[in-house]
Amino acid sequence: MLLNESVAIVTGAARGLGRAIALELAAGGAQVVVNYAGSEAKALQVVHEIEAAGGRGMAVQADVSLAGDVDRLVKTAQDACGKVDILVNNAGIARDNLILRMKEGDWDAVLATNLKGVFLCTKAVAKGMLKRRAGVIVNIASVVGISGNAGQANYAAAKAGVIGLTKSVAKELAPRGIRVNAVAPGYILTDMTDILPDEVKNGIAQTIPLGRVGEPRDVAKAVAFLASPDAAYITGQTLCVDGGMEM
């Protein structure tokens, strides 16, 4: 298998896209550290699923917006698994509102998790990757970070930030054999999108060229590809997985 012998951390992996990504990487042979912020039971369930399928995994609690938590997450992974080859920055939140109604706290919270969290996790794993002259980072951005979206100024700004961060770190670390890419999902069915009213959901589906909303597995497959040696010559890219929404 392509990811045999490798160790991956997936942030926010108790549910949604993170869960699908964790399962996909494990299916590819990676040992997966399933990070979660609060939902221990769900994270353990993901680990059980990985193990039931013959893979290896462990759950580690950490809030990615806190430097102390992130350092502990990475250290726990390194101590238990010996190294970290793959980091998938997936943890994210949305606090949607029109700019005039957006609270400062909603801005800060979204930037803290969705952008600062990516910075903290990247910095924490980079040291070990530099030493080993190898490593792969995949950041989950969003098509909204490219196109913008009414009602998501904070979220879109954070996701655009993730794309800029991805390119900058890709340039910095490329000379040491470390690849950094982003995946920009379009509209994918998860708890995050389930809160939208049905008419909005149907409306969105109609605007998608491929005629359907995405499933977590669509994103997980793209992440697994970018994380694998098959993508050895790809870095600094943002791959839209969106049924053609953004083009």
Binding site: K127, L130, K131, E172, P175, R176
Partner: protein, 75 residues
Amino acid sequence: MGVFEKVKSIVVDQLGVDEDDVTLETSFEELNADSLDIVELIMALEEEFDLDIPDEEAEKIRTVGDAVKYIKENQ
């Protein structure tokens, strides 16, 4: 091995330079180290000497002698 010899061997190792080119006066720049090389070098020194060199201090370490001096003072 003295501090200088240890630092020298790390510099030789990290930057892939000739031992004869490394003296106390040699700057990392002269050895063609880029900024990332220097960050890695500092990381290697921290590990070897079991130190935690703060970023503000690390920025001041420009020559082999600077590193040796810092290590001697902080060990």
